[in-house]
Amino acid sequence: MAEDRDDDTPLFEAPPIAEQERMCEAMLFASATPLTVAEMAARMPRGCDPAEALMHLRRRYAGRGVHLVRVGDAWAMRTAPDLGFLMQEERVETRKLSRAAIETLAIIAYHQPITRAEIEEIRGVSVSRGTVDQLLDLDWIRFGRRKMTPGRPVTFVVTQEFLDHFGLESARDLPGLKELRAAGLLESRPAPGPGAENRDNDEQEEGAAPGQSELFED
């Protein structure tokens, strides 16, 4: 097979060129930066010739949705320029929801349907209009039925989009306080002090503030 080998021939046969092409393809796909021929050669088994493999690869991807392109003296895979319109959604800036928003959302999820006044009662501070608007904008909450109390205030409930985002099948699947405690999210025990004795024992166990449950009795 290798009659005319010269002295530089490595001890082991280099992998077939088709295999080298696969290797270059995988490296260029997974690498976070464009790779030079030398960098690829350093990672591949001895005797490989990435430069030649790249020529094969370039031909294979000609006209495809992804191209092999040269970036300076390195190589990279890029989506075909004519398909740029498909990548519009890729440019998304993600930001963490503010503390006020996440708290408001949590209260709505756990107590829905709930009025703004009731949310404020639980949070202990007023709920800004921007916070509610943001949650409405995100399609995570919507208006529910009006409450049959004086003033007939509107209520808020969570949406299907909310359930999808948080990977829940229904709001009922949210873990309860006991489960939150078991998961280490509710470590504290009620602090002994004024007011504590008045609490219903069961409620104390649940971590519920008095008064709160009253709010939710219909």
Partner: protein, 261 residues
């Protein structure tokens, strides 16, 4: 002499303690009583389906007994299992009593064998799972997720963990709230004075003080008491000002007010 003895004692107790500790560590190495049983069952060198549960029960009881003689503190679930196995052993050894309620020894033994086989199967499944080609170790995702510069959308995210932590924070916060007077259930002297000044002008005849209490404070005890106290104090203030007269027929009788002409 005494010193020697004392020293000798220390040495043995240290050695004892170390031996005991080694065993405690060993027990800690087990993931519960089922794990111990599974380990013991390997000494039988048979398929888990052919295992002798009786023999296994004896081995486990010996294990617990040994731990006890070495003064190793076993967790409660190890002792519960020991009690259950002792019970099972008696059921397996004694001829079945037709009068007796409950499952037969064979049924209990079969269930234990099932539990062991299931745990063993889950261990093997876990090992197979962890040996798979894994993302980030054997298989890789796109290294340069492409960002195309066109639409710039801000998307707000929050994880379920964030949500639950926020809720947990809210529900525990009250427990640490510094003590403060709950103003809502307090009817102030100022409010009572204002109300009484307006109303007492119409009171030409003796009227029960309770009739002056604001309706919204009548519903529950603490609020009614606060309103009563404030209104009584306000009425005394008006007496002092010479605007009303006040009387009470006897102890605990209603207190009555009348405009002073």
């Amino acid at each position: 002499m005494d010193e020697d003895v004392a020293q000798g004692e220390t040495v043995t107790s240290v050695a004892d303690r170390m031996a005991a500790e080694a065993l405690i560590v060993d027990v800690d190495g087990y993931e519960g009583p089922l794990d111990v049983l599974l380990t013991l069952s390997r000494t039988q060198k048979v398929d888990l389906r052919q295992i002798s549960v009786l023999q296994l029960a004896q081995q486990y009881l010996a294990f617990v007994e040994q731990a006890r003689t070495l003064r190793i503190e076993l967790a409660a679930d190890y002792l519960v299992m020991a009690a259950w196995l002792a019970f099972l052993k008696s059921r397996l050894l004694l001829p079945p009593d037709p009068e007796e309620e409950g499952p037969s020894g064979e049924e209990m033994a079969a269930h234990l064998a099932f539990q062991l086989e299931r745990l063993q199967a889950m261990r093997e499944a876990a090992a197979q799972l962890m040996a798979r080609d894994r993302l980030g170790r054997d298989v890789f995702a796109r290294g340069i997720p492409e960002d195309v510069t066109r639409v710039r959308e801000v998307r707000y995210t929050a994880s379920l963990m964030d949500l639950m932590q926020a809720y947990a924070r809210l529900r525990t916060r009250d427990e640490f709230r510094p003590y403060a007077m709950d103003r809502e259930s307090i009817y102030t002297l100022e409010a009572a004075l204002e109300r009484l000044r307006e109303m007492v002008g119409f009171a030409g005849t003796w009227t029960d003080l309770a009739r002056y209490l604001p309706a919204e404070f009548m519903a529950d005890g603490p609020r009614r008491r606060s309103a009563t106290a404030a209104t009584f104090a306000a009425s005394l203030e008006l007496v002092k000002e010479g605007r009303v007269e006040i009387r009470q027929a006897e102890t605990f009788a209603p207190i009555e007010l009348r405009r002073k002409e």
